[in-house]
């Protein structure tokens, strides 16, 4: 049993962590909070600033800054110039960028099976 639990699997981040997006002007922040604190280090290793910038590249993102909160634990990503001018200038239906948490939660991560939430029936 322990072998199966420790086996590394590739899954969407959404099955390992949750998060929320918020905006200020043309700048977006997305938090990433692992369901199991034990997954924090592995997620932090894989969700680099460069990787997150790639996820938002098609939106015009110019930079990503990552803040680490190991006590919660959580990561906070601040993504620049990603909101097509922000809520007031954007032509995007979601000018606030609120749905972008789930864009980031769609990236693939590799973690031991024990950290992965089952897909609901």
């Amino acid at each position: 049993m322990s072998d199966a639990k420790d086996a590394m699997v590739a899954v969407p981040l959404h099955r390992v962590a949750h998060g929320r997006a918020g905006d200020k002007g043309n700048r977006l922040n997305v938090s990433v909070i692992p369901y199991d604190s034990g997954a924090y280090e592995l997620i932090a290793q894989q969700l680099t600033e460069r990787r997150v910038l790639e996820v938002f590249a098609h939106r015009g993102a110019t930079g990503v800054r990552r803040y680490e909160l190991p006590l919660l634990p959580a990561l906070n990503f601040v993504i620049e110039d990603v909101l097509e001018g922000g809520v007031n200038g954007s032509l995007n239906l979601d000018g606030h960028g609120k749905s972008n948490s789930f864009l980031l939660l769609g990236v693939e991560v590799r973690v031991p099976q024990r950290f992965v939430r089952p897909v609901p029936e």
């Binding site: 002007g25 909160l69 620049e80 097509e84």
Partner: protein, 460 residues
């Protein structure tokens, strides 16, 4: 044991559920302890939209749902000594005060004390060219529109002054959102304005509560992954703060939703950039040492926040006329719907070129790729997945004039007869746009204050 002070949140934005306040007030009354409630209904540009409304009708320009929100709770709050604080003044705090005064008279509360905070409207005081731009907005192109509104983020202090003068309702325009919850705590406990440790706890309570159901399981709800009870009846949040500054987040009794470590963590980082340096007008917060602990069902203790002095400069948000947006949508469904939708998109873009309308367009294929796509449409253009059952084409344009925006949006309407085949359900509209940019103002340039009168005086 002495009861903690309870601060309840009754709205997290303009447009929130109007039946949320009742259970929050019920819970505060049943607790038997001291408390206050606040409404946060003023987003960054809401005040500009309110200014536009006030231009059309000088009596308006305040929160449109004001009476609907307050009528169920005003009398009970007055009778039980629960102050109501809200930024529902928007662009017209005296106008909101008159509405509340008239409501109070109708409810038999002629002596209700109403406080109105002034000083956030800085259109007369702000010299934009001389001020540094707030860093997050530095790259925005303002396009040189006329100023619609300019409002500084006031601190808790004028609200505290109103409470000290006996106000049972405090009406503000722009103020720091967390300050709305901090003010009654400063008033109740007599915290000093440089007691950074305690101010930090009160401001953190405000930060966690200011978006209403975002901390009580509402915006958290992700079926199968993050389930909550009774999502149609989410309880709004309540913070308990005791004399030692212990902070517990809970929610209204007998409601849906939940408060757990995860809901609190999500909201703690909401709209935060550097978690070690979160500026409010009252105190600068450092969340890097924060931990959360579940004490029991719907009870989470938040500890470890640190406070430092607020900066000397105050943020002021200026809203400019931002031209117009035109939008049109049309649906395609059934066999070959994706190809018909793509064809419609290409026809629309070609029509804008042929007519030489002065607009910047964007296309979405709702059901294929929309909110996660960029303005260039890379996701829908590159889509090679399965055939959807139903696609909705959306054209959005920005334009200087309403006529250009309208003419572009009407190109979607024209697809009814001009094709492609089977398009239906057209909606189109134009919207006046507001652009915002924030500046840093010297605190000394502001002259905030509060005026407190009875309902019968105010209604005159």
């Amino acid at each position: 044991m002495k009861q903690p002070f309870r601060v309840g949140n009754c709205a997290g934005f303009s447009g929130d559920r109007v039946d949320a306040p009742g259970p929050v007030v019920d819970t505060l009354i049943e607790s038997g302890g001291p408390g206050a409630v606040f409404f946060e209904v003023l987003g960054e540009r809401t005040v500009a939209l309110a200014q536009l409304e006030k231009r059309r009708d000088p009596l308006r320009g305040y929160e449109p749902m004001l009476e609907r929100l307050l009528e169920p709770i005003l009398k009970r709050c007055a009778e039980h000594g629960i102050p109501i604080i809200g930024n529902f003044g928007a662009a017209n705090p005296p106008g909101a005060a008159r509405v509340i005064a008239q409501l109070a008279l109708r409810l038999g509360l002629p002596d209700l004390r109403i406080g109105v905070v002034h000083g956030d409207d800085v259109r007369e005081r702000i010299a934009l060219a001389a001020l540094p731009v707030y860093e997050a907005d530095a790259a925005l192109d303002m396009g040189g529109g006329d100023i619609v509104s300019a409002n500084a983020y006031l601190s808790a202090r004028p609200m505290v002054e109103a409470l000290a003068a006996g106000a049972q309702v405090v009406i503000t325009g722009r103020t720091g959102d967390p300050s709305l919850a901090l003010a009654p705590l400063i008033h109740h406990y007599g915290w000093a304005y440089d007691d950074w440790a305690r101010l930090a706890i009160g401001a953190t309570a405000g930060h966690l509560l200011e978006c209403g159901a975002q901390v009580t399981g509402g915006y958290y709800y992700d079926p199968g992954f993050k389930d909550i009870p009774d999502p149609a009846n989410i309880g709004f949040p309540i913070a308990e703060v005791d004399t030692d500054g212990r902070l517990v987040i809970t929610k209204a009794a007998r409601t849906g939703g939940l408060v757990n470590a995860q809901t609190v963590k999500e909201q703690l980082l909401y709209e935060i950039h550097d978690p070690g340096f979160y500026i409010t007008p009252d105190v600068t917060l450092d969340f890097t040492g924060v931990s959360v602990r579940e004490l029991g069902p719907d009870r989470v203790e938040v500890s470890g926040v640190r406070g430092a002095p607020a900066p000397e400069k105050v943020k002021a948000t200026v809203c400019f006329d931002g031209g117009w947006m035109g939008e049109g949508e049309i649906s395609y469904a059934g066999p070959n719907c994706l190809a018909r939708a793509r064809a419609a998109a290409e026809v629309l873009l070609e029509r804008l070129r042929l007519r030489q309308l002065a607009v910047q367009p964007r296309i979405d294929l709702i059901g294929v790729a929309s909110v996660h796509d960029g303005d260039g449409g890379a996701k829908w253009r590159g889509y090679n997945g399965g055939e959807p059952d139903d696609v909705r084409v959306r054209l959005a344009v920005s334009a200087r004039t309403q006529d250009d925006a309208d003419q572009a949006a009407r190109e979607v309407l024209a697809l009814y007869c001009c094709g492609p085949a089977g398009g239906g359900g057209v909606r189109w509209r134009t919207t006046q746009r507001i652009r915002t940019q924030s500046y840093l103002m010297p605190r000394g340039d502001l002259a905030p204050g509060a005026r407190v009168l009875s309902a019968k005086e105010m209604a005159r």
